[in-house]
């Protein structure tokens, strides 16, 4: 808060204030310079040192190696190559110290040292150039002990074959153990694991594939699961695919799986630049990329699993059921029907569920065709995968209609497959499902065999290969000698109605009756078109139009004239005759009808023209009166009509 000063010498006060301020600033400047002078670094000879702490560690752990450069600027050009040791740069730090008034600084670079195997190692002297002077650190002796209990490889890894030689230590591929023997099309679960040394930066260029043409590899269309695993004491990032394998060629087949990958490896020997942890496949350390981009290079590699052999055996032909569709595995069959109480002709939905483990792509619906008592439709299919690869259930829904109202049960359905464990074919049969059709006759099937639950449970047969088709269609031998009957043809059933019979198979267009109808239609069409054309032409002709108008008018007038004639009204009769003549002649001569007189007729018509005398008679009647008897009127009218029509 500013103090209010009252004085008689204001200028003297200001001078004092300014002097006091300048004296304080000078003191601060002197103090600063003093401190600066005291703390000027006493730059001595540069030093370097390297330390590892601890110098003894288990193989599944790491120890930091710190290289310190004191009093100078230098760069670590190369780290020595030590067999069995890996160096990973972790960062850099700078320290400043004031000791007895002298300031010193140092830069420490930290590396993480990991070992690939237990043993004693020596990190040789590390050469560093500081301020132009070549300096070396001291050698460091490292003792790597075996892995601790917690770092042992997981139990599951024991099932994988070894990785191979030392060159595969950075990355390698393994596949799970598969059976030694299989059958064509058999579903073999397969697990593929790609290992990349932790910290290594890699990217995948392809999905795993089989080397060779003896197998089909089926992998789900999803990203592999990424985990970390320790193999032989070394931590690895592991990508796992779970899929299936099936042999397609019989015989002993070599099995190897390959994956294309790109590794980011250092160009030099010393700077094994790796990202500081993180995802080795996504490279989510942009700063590391930035600092290391000059030292890294891409290297494309192919990871190939150790070779294993698998014998693909042919499926036995003996005992093969006729309805065998290629399904291999272990399955169960369940058949349900809904509804089981129906009216004749009502559809029944048959739900057939095949569940278990195996190659479901070859599992087909138990055949209902071939049974002539039923009309069946193409089933719908829905597959639901199970928890484990190859497991699941396939549900078929099929609409069926009993043709015979006397049907009392849905016959057993069969599904055949090959059991690779038992090495024989199996046929599952559902129990017959009892059925009630309103108005049904006596049951044709053994009621004791039928169940009243609407569902049929499975019964596993002895694998004799007897198919339901064989049971339904019976013995087929003896027909058509020399020609084998086609077994297993999935034909739609026979038609039960004879249908309308024809004496020939000729197309409709060649039948006379139809041809007549078509010709009639065509004739009608052409006639209609011709009439339209004609009408259109007529509509465009003025003379014809006038003629038609005259004719229509004459017809109208003549009807009226005949009416007056019948009434015996001579005056009105002749007046109308005169009007009719005027109208017709007016139209013909392009004159006003009322203006036409006898003089006009005499002038324009021939002297002996009948119309002149007719017009004269009418005009006389109009002005002087004239009486005609009915016969005279009839003759007059007839003559008039003839003349006027001729005129028109």
């Amino acid at each position: 808060m500013e103090r209010l000063v009252t004085t008689s010498d204001p200028f003297g006060y200001i001078h004092r204030q300014l002097r006091a301020k300048s004296q304080g600033g000078l003191a601060a400047l002197v103090l600063f310079l003093t401190i600066l002078g005291l703390t000027t670094p006493s730059l001595g000879a540069p030093t370097i040192s390297a330390s590892l702490s601890p110098t003894s560690f288990p193989v599944d752990q790491a120890a930091p190696l710190t290289i310190t450069i004191g009093d100078g600027k230098g760069s670590i050009d190369q780290l020595p190559e030590v067999d069995g040791l890996l160096f990973q740069r972790r960062g850099q730090s700078r320290q400043h110290q004031i000791v007895n008034g002298s300031l010193s600084s140092s830069v420490s670079t930290i590396f993480q040292v990991q070992a690939t195997r237990p043993g004693t190692f020596t990190i040789p002297a590390i050469a560093i150039t500081v301020e132009g002077q070549p300096l070396k650190t001291k050698e460091i002796r490292v003792e790597v002990t075996p892995a601790t209990a917690g770092g042992q490889p997981p139990e599951g890894d024991q099932t994988f074959p070894p990785a191979g030689d030392g060159s595969e230590q950075l990355a390698f591929l393994r596949i799970s153990q598969v059976k030694q023997e299989s059958y064509p099309g058999e579903f073999l679960p397969l697990q593929i694991k790609a290992y990349f040394r932790r910290g290594l930066r890699a990217s995948l260029n392809s999905h795993p594939r089989i080397n060779g043409d003896g197998f089909l590899l089926n992998l789900p269309d999803e990203e592999p699961r990424q985990t970390e695993e320790i193999v032989d004491g070394t931590p690895y990032a592991c990508l796992t695919w779970k899929g299936s394998l099936s042999g397609i060629k019989e015989g002993e087949q070599s099995l190897r799986v390959a994956v294309e990958s790109t590794l980011l490896v250092p160009t030099g020997n010393s700077r094994r630049s790796r990202s500081m942890g993180g995802d080795p496949f996504l490279g989510n350390d942009p700063m590391a990329d930035f600092f290391n981009q000059q030292q890294m290079q891409e290297k494309k590699i192919q990871l190939i699993s150790p070779e294993t052999t698998l014998t693909v055996l042919p499926l036995p032909t003996e005992g093969r059921p006729e309805d065998f569709s290629g399904a291999i595995g272990r399955f169960q069959l369940e058949v349900k029907a809904q509804p089981t109480d129906v009216e004749p002709g009502d559809p029944i939905t048959l739900t057939m569920t095949v569940q278990g483990a195996g190659n479901f792509d070859r599992v087909e619906a138990p055949s209902f065709n071939g049974n002539t008592n039923w009309k069946s439709y193409t089933p719908t299919t829905k597959f639901t995968p199970g928890a484990a690869p190859g497991e699941g259930s396939k549900v078929f829904e099929q609409a069926i209609i009993a043709k015979d109202p006397g049907t009392t049960a849905i016959p057993p359905l069969a599904f055949s497959f090959f059991d690779p464990d038992k090495k024989q074919y199996q046929t599952l049969r559902s129990a017959p499902i009892s059925l009630h059709i309103s108005g049904a006759g006596k049951p044709e099937m053994d009621a004791g065999k039928a169940q009243n639950t609407g569902s049929g449970t499975t019964a596993n047969t002895n694998g004799q290969g007897l198919s339901p088709t064989a049971e339904i269609i019976g013995d087929t031998t003896g027909d058509q000698p020399g020609r084998p009957a086609i077994k297993g043809l999935d034909l739609a059933p026979l038609h039960s109605q004879l249908g309308s019979l024809h004496q020939d198979i000729t197309p409709l267009m060649r039948r006379t009756g139809f041809q007549v109808i078509v010709l009639g239609s065509l004739l009608l069409l052409f006639t209609a078109i011709a009439l339209k054309i004609h009408a259109r032409r007529q509509a465009g002709d003025p003379w014809r139009c006038r003629h038609q108008a005259m004719t229509r008018l004459l017809n109208s007038r003549m009807a009226e004239i005949h009416a007056f004639r019948d009434q015996g009204d001579t005056r009105a009769f002749l007046a109308l005759c005169r009007q009719a003549m005027q109208e017709q002649l007016g139209s013909l001569w392009q004159m006003e009808p009322g203006a036409i007189t006898l003089a006009d007729l005499r002038q324009r018509l021939a002297a002996d023209a009948v119309l002149i005398s007719l017009f004269g008679t009418a005009e006389t009647s109009a002005y002087g009166g004239c009486q005609l008897n009915s016969q005279e009127m009839a003759e007059y009218a007839q003559t008039l009509e003839n003349e006027l029509r001729r005129l028109a």
Binding site: A485, I486, L491, L494, G499, I505, P507, M509, S521
Partner: protein
Amino acid sequence: MKKWPRSAAMTGLGLLFLALFGTFSKAAAADEREPFRDFLAAGQAYATGQWSTAISLYEGVMASAGFSAPLCYNLANSYAQNGQIGKAVLHYERARLLAPGDADIRHNLQRLRQEKGLEQGNIPLMQQAAGLLGLNEWTLLAASLVAALALFHLATLRLPVSTRLSRMLTSGGLLLIFLCSVAMLIQYRNWQRAVLSFTDTPLLISPFAGAKDTGLLREGSLLHVLKTHDQYALIRDDQGQGGWIPIASFEYIARTITDN
């Protein structure tokens, strides 16, 4: 002489008519039942796997009563089960001509062709479009369009219809008639086809018994007969393969009952 009342005479005539009608009806019904009985018997024979019996029964029905789509279809099924592919294809094709929309016929013919490697390959789009309806359906459609067009033009003689509407309807109708006619032509060509109905037959380069063969025509193949010479016919199949084969080795799909 006693004169019968008029009503009694009428009653007598009625009774006589009914008796005659009943007699003819019974005879006709008996005639109709005979093929149907054989038809059912053939179905029973088929169900028990006696396909030769089924074939002879169905053939008998066909010879006496004529063709029907179910009859041809059942006969084709019997031939197929008996391993006579050519005959099976022939009768499936006949059934298809009579009932082009029947799913069972299409399904069985397709399965048989798949089973025996007689697939027809890629069918051109035009033929696929023409195959949406049978020849008779296309014919009926075209005839109906002609009749409708004729009626329309007759109506316009009396009813006032704008020239634009008339032209539009006429153009549309004529276009549809044209398209139907194209489809009819394509389908009619199919009616003219034949089927190699017995065994695989060599294609000869000339119509003589000792002529060299250029290939083998498979039983059940569809043929177009181009011309005949003596006992041989020059044919071409759907794949464009051509040559001479004996006339006795194939049968036309569309034939009259007396041709068989």
